[in-house]
Point group: C2
Chain length 144, copies 2
């Protein structure tokens, strides 16, 4: 469904959010440990999240990744997915036609569109805060 890069990106953002509530910056190393991902690859993904303003990075000694507390509730899952996988998941044809077009639909268009739109709605209506709080409360997990 999502690429590995995107899965790591979502989990990383959630973990950074949980730590940011405590005002703690985290390193790619710590993030990779916490979400069971390859460290260097995760660092690359973090760069993309920084470029797309999902997370903030602070270079140099005592640096790391963080998210402004006030932003956590405003960041949608859709932003993260879009930053890493692009927006094909929101708009591309399910059977790979050049574009999804009502006027030139593939055979599954009507049925696929419903599912795709529901996924889009879900991603646009889920914010980092609720996911991070679920982790903090122990109701959900980022690994194992």
């Amino acid at each position: 469904m999502f690429s590995k890069a995107c899965e790591y990106g979502i989990k990383a953002a959630i973990f950074i959010a949980t730590k940011s509530y405590e005002g703690i910056r985290v390193s790619p190393k710590e993030i990779a440990m916490e979400i069971s991902s390859p460290q260097a690859f995760t660092a690359k993904i973090l760069q993309a999240l920084v470029k797309h303003d999902v997370v903030k990075s602070v270079k140099g000694a005592y640096g790391g990744f963080e998210i402004n507390k006030g932003d956590i509730s405003t960041i949608k899952l859709s932003q993260i997915v879009k930053a890493i996988d692009g927006d094909t998941i929101y708009s591309a044809c399910g059977l790979g036609l050049d574009k999804c077009d009502e006027n030139h639909p593939c055979p599954v268009h009507d049925k696929f569109k419903g599912v795709r739109d529901e996924l889009k709605f879900m991603l646009e209506n889920t914010n980092l805060e609720e996911l991070a709080l679920n982790i903090k409360s122990g109701a959900s997990f980022l690994k194992v």
Copy 2:
């Protein structure tokens, strides 16, 4: 969403179905032309569909691929997807945890499960016949 192989497989099955109504067998070459896919790769995918009893192949001169007319309405999209992409799309965790487990859920489990189940329902309740008839009537398209 689906792999390229799966997209080709679905489109190929639909095209074979349309021809099978007329009692005509088709070759990988003709299929690839009709669905704009690489021919040799499409042939490989057809082998998988044969192995999983989605389509029937007839070797030798005057051979080709076909689907028994009576079977067309009983073949679900889900069988094709499962034959080619396996069943991860139906059951895998959206964030890549080893397994999707109610008792050890990832942060997006509840929300993701809904979308995944809707996709599953759609695939299990869409059969080749309706897709093939839409193509025959000109209401939908397999390429361009």
